[in-house]
């Protein structure tokens, strides 16, 4: 794989992660458990969709075929999406949403911190911008992990169940594929393996404070980075892309 192709794939993945998770969170709009959390989740969704816009815009530039961020978001089919499986998992209840968010925030805080050192100036600039927002997200999801884990018996059980069921999607975030290896060698990408100790330490710290048990499963689900998705993504795209598919080029 040449560097240009890898860089497109990589930037697409980062953009798709932010876009799909942002879309998932936006599904809470008007349905949050209380008003403040409704607003918080939609705020985080907005940050993520903003990050996705910068990333997909850059992906379009790298590709050089004139595709805009909107073309990439609204006119790609499911197998062209490069997001990890974690972010397409359904919201289920607030516990699932918080666990999914914490896994992603813990990863993205450490990932963007490392990406600041990228030799690719645009990716480093996007990392610098995103990191400021991600700090607030990580604080938010960590606080809720603890509040609900160390809350009532019922909230603890719901969190433990969500944690156990989401666990198999946590591994893909830090699993290297060929794209990662090509870009790491080029000084552009991040060494995901090297992030593991810090991510695991943070996870252990939060779970301990939340009185939640660390899941023990070692088998991790993967495939999203190569375009092999769960059926959930199809439903997200059907809703997200409907307008542009039904009325190509529609604007308002």
């Amino acid at each position: 794989m040449d560097i240009q192709k890898a860089l497109f794939d990589y930037t697409l993945r980062l953009g798709d992660n932010a876009l799909i998770l942002g879309h998932r969170l936006s599904e809470w709009c008007g349905r949050g458990p209380i008003l403040e959390q409704d607003i918080a989740m939609t705020n985080i969704a907005l940050d993520l969709i903003g990050q996705a816009r910068s990333l997909l815009q850059y992906a379009g530039e790298i590709e050089g075929k004139g595709r805009t961020e909107d073309d990439l978001a609204f006119l790609r089919d499911i197998t062209a999406y490069r997001n990890v499986l974690l972010v397409e998992q359904p919201n289920e209840d607030f516990a699932f949403t918080i666990v999914r968010q914490f896994f992603y925030d813990n990863y993205s805080f450490h990932f963007y911190t490392a990406l600041l050192q990228s030799t690719d100036e645009t990716l480093a600039a996007i990392a610098e911008k995103s990191l400021k927002e991600v700090r607030y997200h990580l604080r938010y999801s960590s606080e809720w992990m603890i509040r609900l884990g160390d809350g009532t018996e019922e909230s603890n059980q719901k969190m433990q169940k969500a944690l156990n069921q989401m666990w198999m999607y946590n591994g893909e975030l830090l699993t290297m594929n060929e794209t990662d290896r090509v870009l790491l060698a080029a000084g552009i990408g991040v060494d995901l393996e090297a992030l593991k100790p810090a991510c695991e330490a943070k996870l252990a710290e939060i779970l301990a404070a939340a009185t939640l048990e660390m899941p023990t499963g070692t088998w991790m689900q993967k495939g999203g980075k190569e375009g092999k998705h769960s059926e959930h993504l199809g439903f997200i795209l059907a809703e997200m892309q409907y307008l542009q598919r039904a009325h190509p080029g529609a604007t308002w």
Binding site: E36, Q37, I39, A40, N43, I44, L46, D47, L48, I49, G50, Q51, R53, S54, E121, A124, A125, I126, E128, K129, S130, L131, K132, E133, R135, Y136, L138, R139, Y140, S142, E143
Partner: protein, 164 residues
């Protein structure tokens, strides 16, 4: 007629371009305008977003162009940059005062602070009654750049422009 315009004049004109979501602050007060350059009568204004998803950026770009065109500058381009990333440290002192008068508590302290989890909560003074007896209700408020607070003395809820 060829007139010589200085970059300072452009900066002065931009002080009339208000942020659409916090209309008491100009884009200059807010620190969103990073540079102004003039080459052969063409003006280039460089801006940076407060937050990645800030929905006001398109409107700000349109307003900058419209205001400069109304002042007689026909060749205006607006460029967006992401680095260095915007920080509340760039809010002018005058801007902070305007925020307070408008009912939004300005950022307290510098942005480069603890990213430690559960750092002590900052004392944010109520913009209505100036009491320090306030409580954060939510880290996320009516827009991405604000948190929601409540004053325990006058009981008014208020927005806090959070440090970034």
């Amino acid at each position: 007629m060829q007139t010589i315009v200085t970059e300072n004049e452009i900066w002065e004109i931009l002080e009339n371009v208000m942020d659409p979501e916090v209309p008491v602050l100009s884009v200059v007060d807010l620190g969103v305008v990073r540079a102004v350059t003039i080459i052969d009568n063409a003006v280039e204004v460089t801006i940076t977003p407060t937050y990645s998803g800030c929905p006001a950026m398109n409107v700000i770009e349109i307003n900058i162009k419209a205001t400069l065109q109304a002042a007689g500058f026909n060749k205006v381009t607006v460029k967006t940059i992401l680095s260095p990333a915007w920080t509340t440290d760039w809010l002018s002192e005058a801007g902070k005062e305007k925020l307070r008068a408008y009912g939004i508590a300005p950022p307290v302290g510098r942005s480069i602070d603890e990213h430690a989890l559960f750092g002590a909560e900052k004392k944010v003074a109520c913009p209505q009654c100036n009491s320090n007896n306030t409580k954060m209700l939510s880290q996320f408020g009516s827009t991405a750049c604000k948190a929601l607070y409540k004053c325990n003395d006058c009981l008014e809820p208020f927005d806090y422009f959070k440090c970034l």
